[in-house]
């Protein structure tokens, strides 16, 4: 499976200054810098998010309801099934909307969990150093040494293929990278004047971490997290291909693409439509991630 890759000991070369408050002019700079591509990406993303959130209003009904007699209906040929049906006659429009919801849900939730855990462990690791650091680094190294596909298949076989398990797996694939990156950052920030000064003034650790360290790594983390959402949505489809994606009949874009691949010669739409949707989404997210990175002026992969 694809892995998000970020520098290890090099860390993110984040903005090296403690970020000063933005001036009024700078505050709106980001809007001026939005070119056409960015605006299109934003609109696409907003529409997609709205569509999957409002799925029940746009295409009311059960996305798992079958109609064997109407299976493999092509798009735009039957008003009851606007985008056609799949191999058991389920409505593709409904499945696209609900599947997108599942894919986005996994992408966002897993990113949040993975980020929070990764950042927390990274900060602790970098700030406390010593044996705490050793233990956390060891766990991360054991996990990274295992081919993630094997780990994911084994976990899915033991715990099942529920939404929670998949979110957990996706988060698991996320945290070590964050903890490595953040640890490196914290190690270098730790010795910086403003942190040393805060310590000298008797600030306690929690205070220093919350007030001085975290704000300084917020920007790169935000950028990484944006990119990570797209990565996890791809990860979920890869796992679906290997038969350990979300448990059918619940749709996800990943299992829809995977399910339709064998019948591409007779029913192109089953795989192609979710693949197009997924491509649009990851392109929009990626474009915005790139833009955020440029605006926030952070260098991350």
């Amino acid at each position: 499976m694809e892995k998000a890759l970020t520098p290890k000991s090099a860390g993110i070369a984040a903005s090296n200054q403690a970020m000063p408050a933005l001036t009024q002019g700078q505050r709106w700079r980001w809007l001026r810098e939005m070119n056409v591509t960015i605006r299109v990406a934003t609109v696409v993303l907003l529409i997609m998010v709205l569509a999957v959130v409002l799925a029940d209003f746009i295409a009311p009904g059960d996305p798992t309801a079958q109609s064997l007699r109407a299976r493999l209906t092509p798009p735009l040929t039957n008003p009851d099934y606007l985008l056609g049906t799949d191999g058991t006659g389920r409505d593709l429009l409904m499945r696209l909307l609900h599947g997108g919801r599942v894919s986005l849900l996994i992408g966002i939730t897993a990113t949040i969990i993975g980020t929070v855990v990764g950042v927390a462990l990274g900060v602790v690791s970098g700030y406390a150093r010593g044996w705490v650091d050793e233990v956390i680094s060891y766990v991360a190294e054991v996990q990274l040494s295992l081919p993630f596909v094997l780990l994911a298949i084994a976990v899915a076989l033991v715990l099942g293929r529920s939404l929670a398990v998949l979110i957990g797996l996706a988060a698991l694939s996320t945290w070590p990278l964050y903890s490595r990156v953040v640890r490196g950052e914290v190690l270098s920030l730790r010795e910086r004047e403003f942190v040393v000064a805060a310590r000298a003034l008797g600030g306690n650790s929690t205070h220093i971490i919350l007030r001085h360290l975290l704000p300084n790594i917020a920007a790169p983390i935000l950028v990484l997290a944006t990119i990570n959402i797209g990565r996890i949505i791809l990860l979920e489809s890869g796992l679906s291909f290997l038969g350990i994606g979300i448990q059918p009949p619940t749709p996800s874009w990943g299992n829809m693409i995977s399910d339709g691949r064998e019948v591409l010669p007779v029913a192109w739409w089953i795989s192609t439509l979710p693949a197009l949707a997924l491509m649009l989404l990851t392109l929009a997210i990626g474009t915005l991630g790139d833009w955020l990175r440029d605006v926030l002026d952070v260098a991350v992969g």
Binding site: K3, L5, A154, L234
Partner: protein, 308 residues
């Protein structure tokens, strides 16, 4: 340096032990292969007899100790599916995966680093935007979908390339493209941003002020510094190679470690799974050690930090 190496080696060994233990427990939690092997007519007695013959009736700890004992003798066990030594079964598959993974990695570096540098120098101009588009596209579809589309277009419709297998160089085209896209995109992005970062550094401005030519500035000053994170990524790719290959190999019927790994989990062939994990973890350890050594080569000022 020697102390650093010794420390790293010890650490790698500890990691391997952790990996082996984790795989052992997790593998056995997924159930055993005996039910899969028996015909429908088999009785529960047959089942128990077969389990005993494979030593699967023993407590987990006993099985683990036996496995470790075997390891110290260099015995990785016998594959349940192939009925031959697991080491032999796994070793046969390594060349195919290397033959696919190495060119993919090489191509993504050979193309990704210069493209990323170019994009950085052309920041916000047309080439930068085109390259950004390319790298986004490489990360926008799951690899199995890309692979199937490539086969349908180039093999079935145009008949330019073979659909599957690994016989001639032509067979390498589609799988290599599929496997290259994702790391290529990552390396482009990484090189670009890390290059931009370096170009803003004081020493680059100093070099410019000293009147050094663009080219010398790029190769002697910017590149080495910008390459550090890229080298790290390459190190991490060594572990990702089996994961990435698992899907690409499955689509293109490529006889490598990836398909063996997934198939062995399907068949609960523990000795083979454990051997694959052991080898890939060792490769990951060695890869990272090489990365650390590469840091020295690129920039001798970097301090060796144990556990870094």
């Amino acid at each position: 340096m020697a102390r650093f190496l010794a420390f790293r080696l010890l650490r790698t060994l500890l990691t391997l032990l952790g990996v082996v233990a984790l795989t052992f427990v997790l593998g056995r939690l997924t159930g055993d292969p005996v039910a899969l092997m028996l015909p429908q007519q088999a009785t529960l007695d047959d089942y128990n007899r077969m389990r005993a013959a494979l030593g699967l009736d023993q407590p987990l700890l006993v099985q683990f100790v036996r496995y470790l004992e075997g390891l110290t003798r260099g015995d990785l066990g016998r594959s349940i599916v192939f009925q031959r030594p697991a080491a032999e079964v796994v070793a046969e598959r390594i060349p195919a995966t290397l033959a696919l993974g190495a060119p993919a990695l090489l191509l993504s570096v050979m193309l990704g680093v210069p493209l990323g540098m170019w994009a950085a120098y052309q920041r916000n101009r047309l080439p930068d935007r085109l390259i950004a588009g390319l790298s986004l596209a490489g990360q926008s579809l799951p690899s199995f979908a890309i692979a199937i589309v490539l086969i349908l277009v180039f093999s079935v419709t145009l008949r330019w390339t073979p659909t599957f297998g690994s016989d001639t160089w032509r067979h390498y085209i589609l799988p290599t493209i599929t496997l290259t896209l994702y790391p290529l995109a990552i390396i482009i992005r990484l090189t670009r941003s890390s290059m931009l970062e370096v170009l803003n550094q004081g020493y680059m401005r100093t070099a410019a002020a000293k009147g050094l030519s663009d080219r010398i500035r790029a190769t002697n000053h910017a590149l080495p510094n910008a390459l550090i994170p890229v080298v790290t990524v390459i190190g991490l790719q060594v572990a990702a190679i089996i994961s990435g290959a698992a899907i690409v190999e499955a689509v293109f019927a490529w006889p490598g470690l990836g398909t063996l790994a997934v198939g062995s989990i399907g068949g609960r062939d523990y000795p083979v799974i454990q051997t694959i994990v052991l080898i890939s973890a060792a490769a990951f350890g060695i890869g990272n050690l090489l990365v650390d050594l590469a840091y020295f080569a690129i920039d001798p000022r970097i301090q060796t930090k144990a556990g870094g």
